[in-house]
């Protein structure tokens, strides 16, 4: 394999977040003269991702940047990868045994959930009923966001009544149903937090359908185009955004350093920003675009 | 008079609005060939299914050798020594003729492997070939699925099957309907041979000369009810037709 070959394994194919990460990585890899191959399984799940990691291992790149879909299940294949001479780093997510890693580019999803709680609390005057729309359990990042949100509410906002999470498997249709049904049961619903973009699209639709836009405050994770537009239109009032393209670029910087034999920081924290309704330019900056596709 | 081998009394069976059997009676004595005749839709096949445990009557009693029985599955009838060729044959179309012959009564190997249920395909195959040639069944290949055989060939397989397993009573629901002349003759011969060996036969057929040729007794169903029970030696084709259709005779003439 070429001396500057780098592999990037995304969490799943076809999600705006990872598309943006891919574009960021590809742009930087070109600048740095790295040969980048991007791969991904079609679902965000360990059993789907491991064969991809195995195949990457077989192609023996110099550096592999991986978004592990499970902190434990990915350890053995990644250890194998490292053991066969590839320098391994994690991006976005990580594994519970960092000893085999050169470095981690981390997002603190729990903190992000907490930021969402703060933002939503501020929007609803620190009281009222709130609902979370998230993925069915088992998806690390989503679980952490919900947990961070719930813990922050419990610790800081005693007057907010948390109705608990409802689940949608990347299904905006289902998210819309949940919102409209919840409004039937709780017409006084004050706020909604969606832990990803598909949930947010569905939730906004549900609010629109119910004529509750603006009345029910909404904060959502990610900055997909639809979410940014909704923020600017006042359909949701806050976004918790990451910068996937920057994470991709950072990963390539680290890869170049590793190939050159330079030292790297053990952990790089990726930034998370809370974007308010009054910060449209910030939203534009963080919008998940995949200009390279 | 000795006890009947199989006796059914007051059998009723209704499907939705259709009363297929409205209190039919039926009786087979040991060692006789009984023909069961009747117009299309008279309820013959329905009665056959009930006698074979493949269907349950809504009302009525069954007796085997005087003992009242209730067949909850075809297995119960099989255990009483009854084997049946159904009008719709009831073969597994994807299996070979030999597999069909042994369906539900597969031969297993001797010894430990047999205990584990391992099939003895070799013996099954050999016995199948014997049985088929005994009946004059001609199959161009033993290894094809039944579905690709001609109608008559399929019927022959079904008959071979019933003949092989009946110990007391064979029921044949229009067995010769699709058979050639030679094969038909063989089936009638088979009926006689089986009877002479002490096994009773119930034969359903729309071919009246055939019925009179082979049967000892003729049992007539009309609109789900028993209307006559004649000694074949005393009856003519005209008698049988009259019994089956009586009331409709004029319509027929028209």
């Amino acid at each position: 394999q070429e001396a500057n070959s780098v592999a990037l394994v995304l969490g799943s194919s076809g999600s705006p977040f990872y598309q943006a990460m891919q574009c960021g990585a590809q742009a930087r890899a070109k600048e740095l003269g790295l040969t980048l191959t991007v791969s991904a399984a079609d679902q965000f799940a360990a059993d789907a991702q491991i064969p991809v990691v195995n195949a990457v291992t077989a192609s023996a790149p110099k550096v592999a940047a991986i978004v592990p879909t499970d902190m434990q299940a990915l350890i053995p294949p990644m250890r194998e990868l490292a053991g066969r001479g590839t320098q391994v780093i994690t991006v976005d997510q990580t594994i519970s045994d960092p000893s085999i890693l050169k470095t981690q580019v981390l997002t603190d999803n729990k903190a992000g959930g907490g930021m969402a709680a703060d933002a939503l609390a501020a929007l609803i005057g620190k009281k009222g009923k709130v609902l979370v729309i998230t993925q069915p359990p088992g998806s690390l990042a989503q679980d952490a966001r919900e947990a961070g949100f719930a813990e922050t509410l419990k610790a800081k906002y005693p007057d907010i009544e948390y109705l608990g999470p409802q689940y949608q498997s990347n299904d905006p249709q289902r998210a819309a149903e949940i919102i409209t049904s919840t409004l039937s049961a709780h017409p006084d619903l004050a706020g909604v937090f969606s832990t990803n973009d598909q949930g947010a699209i569905g939730a906004i639709t549900g609010l629109r359908q119910a004529g509750a836009v603006g009345k029910v405050k909404m904060v959502a994770y990610d900055a997909a185009s639809a979410e940014v537009a909704a923020l600017k239109n006042g359909e949701l009032q806050g976004l918790i955004a990451q910068s996937p393209s920057q994470q991709g670029a950072v990963a390539m910087d680290i890869a170049a350093k590793l190939i050159a034999g330079e030292a790297v920081e053990p952990v790089t924290m990726a930034e998370i920003v809370a974007i308010g309704a009054d910060q449209p330019e910030l939203a534009d900056k963080y919008e998940y675009v995949a200009g390279c596709m | 008079m000795s006890t009947p081998l199989l006796e059914a009394t007051g059998i009723r069976r209704t499907f939705g609005h259709v009363q297929a059997l409205k209190g039919a009676d039926f009786r087979v004595m040991p060692g006789e060939i009984v023909a069961l005749i009747g117009d299309n839709g008279a309820g013959k096949s329905t009665l056959v299914k009930i006698l074979s445990g493949a269907d349950k009557p809504d009302e009525g009693t069954l007796r085997v050798e005087g003992r009242e029985v209730s067949f909850t599955s075809p297995l119960d009838a099989q255990e009483c020594g009854i084997a049946t060729v159904y009008q719709d044959l009831a073969l597994a179309p994807d299996l070979t003729p030999a597999d069909n012959l042994f369906l539900g009564r597969e031969l297993t190997r001797s010894g430990f492997l047999g205990k584990l249920g391992f099939l003895d395909r070799r013996t099954m195959q050999r016995q199948a070939v014997e049985q088929f040639s005994k009946l004059g069944v001609q199959l161009k290949s033993q290894r094809v699925a039944i579905a690709s055989l001609s109608g008559g060939q399929q019927q022959s397989v079904a008959i071979a099957r019933a003949a092989m397993w009946a110990s007391k009573l064979v029921i044949l629901d229009e067995p010769t309907a699709a058979l050639g002349v030679v094969q038909t003759q063989r089936v009638l011969d088979l009926c006689r041979r089986v009877r002479d060996a002490g096994t009773s036969v119930v034969l359903i057929s729309h071919n009246m000369p055939q019925v009179l040729e082979v049967a000892d007794r003729v049992h007539v169903l009309r609109l789900g009810q028993t209307v006559a029970d004649l000694r074949a030696a005393d009856a003519t084709v005209a008698d049988l037709v009259r019994e089956m259709t009586s009331g409709q005779a004029k319509e027929l003439a028209a």
């Binding site: 999470p165 639709t205 537009a229 | -």
Partner: protein
Amino acid sequence: MSNDLAIAPVESTEDRLLRLVAGGWIFLLLLALVAIFLVLKPAQFGSGYNVQQLFINAAILLVLAVGQTYVVITSGIDLSVGSVLVFASVVSAKLMLFLSGAGGTTYGTTAAGWDIIAIGTVAALLVGAAWGAFNGILIAVTKIPPLIVTLGTMGMALGGAQILSGGVDVRAMPELLVTQVGSGRILGIPALVVIATVTVIIAGIVLHMTRFGMHVFAVGSNAEASRRSGIPTMARLIQVYAISGLMAGIAAVMSNARFSTTTINGHAMDNLATISAVVLGGTSLFGGVGSVFGTVVGVFIPIILLNGFVILGIPPFWQTVAMGAVLILAVWIDQLKRRLRKRG
């Protein structure tokens, strides 16, 4: 006997109605569910608001499920509906965005007029029907099992949509489409519900009252017999899958209008949802038997269940369990009642 014929020579309207309501008992189950939720939470469940939401939520799935009904009656199955929806919505949205000039008054929308929307709509329908016809051709001509063909095109259409869109939902929709169709009303009824109702009624009439519909049943009942009777079975199969694709195209436009964005990752479950609705509605997976009315009932059952469960505050995990149980129970009751009726 022959006077039996004389008594009922022509099917009465009542009989025909009964036959139409093939999923009759499921309908009663639906009513029972509604009654239970009404008794437990009358104010919330029975409110005009809630009822309207139920209909809007059902609209897109109804259109998909009606197409699936045609397919299942031919003893086929269409796993690709969700992916074809996604593909058609991406093509349509991209095309409308390309043709649009200025932005709309809100963000994420364009000022495209009805002409552009019409073009986008036609494109979605054509693309959907084309995928469907592709399915149909493979199934009818090459005799590959429908499950395999549509599993294959499910991947191809989704992959194709991702390639076209770069995996990122299309940025902007025509504002008119979103406001007039997605959230608009016609005579006070939500436009999406109107579209779905019209589609369902037309599909029902075609299936149950025309020669084409008769052929669909015949092909599903016995394809070889239909062929020997001179029915162009291949053409019918291709048309049926094309209809299913067309429905996915209609649903794509509705989805674009409703969510005001493409939802590339959002339709993975549409195939199982529609198939279970069709079967709940009394259509046999072995073909030859079925009704559009039954499917409509089958679509509403899970939607009403979810709604009722959320209103009653049943925890989400239990919802999954209960939904599965009700599905089985519903079909079971249906089977029992049918058997009873048959025994008479």
